[in-house]
Symmetry: C2
Subunit: 200 residues, 2 copies
């Protein structure tokens, strides 16, 4: 077959992203296949290369999509949230990862090569950081002498470490039962070191 007009370029892009994300969620990055994505979208391999240039580029795009979903998820949880927003944040971080294990893991499993670095959509990734930044700032009355962006990055890394262990199986091996609670405890301790008072 040759040229078709089933979809505009943009529709096709969206279609491939949608089907790609579904496949990624189903099988995980290790068993992800460009050919399969194309098949599900009703096209063939070549089309993906037409639209995205390479599988790596598609993966980068899919991960950006996951980031957006993740940020939305956090905001939704925070919106319906009782007073303890730090707890909500940590627990929502874990909840998303748990509910979208494969897609979430793919974010960290897929190492982007140097030449694709520029192709990465920074905004979708920064959105998450921004949310945490906002919440942490409002949790610590007097920021004081803190390098806040750095502190926030570090707190995210802290939670990420727990989450990564939890879903990666390391914690299973070490018989940890409630990783989210541990993460929250650490975050509280770090915040407390800078003037934060947890709700009683």
């Amino acid at each position: 077959m040759g040229r078709r007009s089933d979809h505009t370029r943009d529709e096709l892009r969206r279609l491939i992203i949608a089907e790609g994300h579904r496949l990624l969620a189903e099988t995980g990055l290790a068993r992800f296949s460009g050919r399969e994505v194309a098949k599900r979208a009703g096209y063939t391999v070549g089309t993906i290369y037409n639209v995205f240039g390479s599988l790596d580029r598609l993966l980068v795009t899919l991960n950006s999509h996951t980031f957006r979903l993740w940020a939305e998820f956090l905001e939704r949880r925070l919106a319906v949230s009782p007073p303890d927003r730090i707890r909500t944040l940590v627990e929502a971080y874990f909840a998303f990862a748990r509910d979208h294990t494969h897609a979430w893991s793919a974010i960290y499993e897929h190492r982007v090569s140097a030449e694709l670095f520029d192709a990465v959509d920074h905004d979708s990734r920064t959105a998450l950081t921004a949310i945490v930044d906002r919440e942490v700032r409002s949790a610590i009355p007097s920021g004081g002498d803190l390098d806040m962006p750095r502190f926030v990055r570090s707190l995210i890394a802290t939670v990420h470490g727990h989450c990564s262990y939890a879903l990666g199986g390391t914690f299973t091996l070490l018989e940890e039962i409630d990783p989210a609670a541990s993460a929250l405890a650490r975050v509280r301790e770090c915040l407390a070191a800078h003037g934060y008072r947890p709700p009683d």
Copy 2:
């Protein structure tokens, strides 16, 4: 060719592990290839399946090897270490990961399937935890009401999160310059919450 006696079963095992680890260190898990390992060892693919049963099993073994190297590295650093052992521990954790990026990453990139769970050599993995456990205990005079094993796991997860971000490129994206320092700061804050006093 048929049966050879260039190496005993055990020598062959070691040889494949050695070459496998070298290849893993060179190329990373994504480009790791069983055929290439075999070629480097002077054998062919089938032999690997003879000795290890599957590539997954070989990978599990290689990761165990990395864990052992890692634990040894930590002990060596601690042995030559000035008073501030917590700093040494955190920095050595990072140093090993930085110096063996590919091998280190493979530990977390290679997800072991359920049926291989029993094939995992627990001891090599537990060794690392044990070291941290020992150091943390001696850093906190009165353990008090702490669930120490859990606390230790959590601290490791904290450092792991920073290290994972640093090597995975997330921190690069977020313009973090000194991830190890951030990790150390967090660890100190958490320890301080339980009676630890950092050296001045």
